[in-house]
Assembly symmetry: C2
Homo-oligomer: 205 residues x 2
């Protein structure tokens, strides 16, 4: 009820209602489309909530999978044990933190999504969700892409720069890290759909 | 004028105004509120065009900077010359291609942006721009983040995996690649503003 557009919708509606008692034209004009628009927006909001819960699962699963990625090789010398952990590679550490932040944000955004479902006309929560979802999308994409680049390097190495692949030795490590990257890509796809839904829901206000 | 809601905005409001002057509504109906809403949307569209041109510059500069990144060291042995080129690192190659695609898309999107400026009420071009901008944003972020991760690795190496830094030898190479990454981050920031502008412009339809 704060911003310009929703006011323009509401004001004439009440004007229409008051004039209808006096027998003026616009009485039925404003009344008809309201429930339809609200219904469409409510469907969008329910879809938003479902996608959001899926994105929470994907983001937290990616964070957990990467955070528990480690492998200890079954042989060791007197002074040295061969072990790989996710925080041996700073990019994987960034990935874990970023995906945990995105998952936490998505959990905290659930109330906003529910508000949008209960009151489909609310503009404020929609705009907040749109901006924050866009930031979460960017963070997810960045973390996923950086971890994918590192994962590729760990698999294939780079002969030009003498960076040797480590996945021959640490196969499980690499496999688990790659799984986490795939989880983040799914979360990114869901988040970009959430951004589009928020934009479409704004359009119907 | 297509969607149900904007009709409800226009009709009763001007109807309320015109009922005071005469009896019949829809004659002046659409005329009154149009300039205000269209003016706001036109300002948004001009801002969109300016941001888009800046993003073109940033994206193409990033692609060109990365694509011309190479360094030949001033000493060589009988059999070997020390040379680094951007396509020695596959991630940098991906970065160049991705930024060139984004730059090309942004150039091709200029007509759509101009259509949105000339006809601020058009919904179709806005939705197209929103979806394609979102894809370009994701691509830019992914390319920038992956190249940033590689650039960090080239600078600092990773003792845990025996990947040695190469920037001591190839200082100019690393510097130029990092500059290209910064260009892509600027392009990403501009693109996320473009997505928000498209969403806001849809809201005012």
């Amino acid at each position: 009820m704060k911003s310009g557009d929703s006011t323009t919708i509401d004001v004439p509606e009440s004007a229409a209602r008051s004039t209808s008692s006096k027998g003026k034209a616009p009485a039925v004009v404003a009344a008809a489309p309201v429930p339809r628009a609200a219904g469409g927006k409510r469907a969008l909001a329910i879809f938003d909530l479902v996608l959001r819960i899926s994105a929470i699962v994907a983001a937290l699963a990616a964070a957990a999978a990467m955070g528990t990625t480690e492998e200890t090789l079954p042989f060791f010398t007197q002074f040295f044990q061969f072990q790989a952990e996710y925080d041996d590679i700073p990019t994987f550490q960034f990935f874990t933190i970023a995906m945990a932040i995105v998952g936490g944000y998505l959990v905290l955004s659930l109330p906003f999504s529910i508000v949008c479902m209960v009151r489909p006309r609310a503009v404020g929560p929609r705009v907040v969700l749109l901006i924050l979802d866009l930031m979460a999308l960017t963070l997810t994409t960045a973390a996923g892409a950086a971890a994918a680049a590192m994962s590729y390097l760990a698999h294939n190495g780079n002969p030009n720069t003498n960076w040797l692949p480590i996945c021959q030795q640490f196969g499980d490590f690499c496999q688990k890290a790659t799984g986490a990257v795939i989880g983040s890509l799914i979360a990114g796809a869901l988040l970009s759909m959430l951004v589009l839904i928020s934009a479409m829901a704004l359009r119907r206000v």
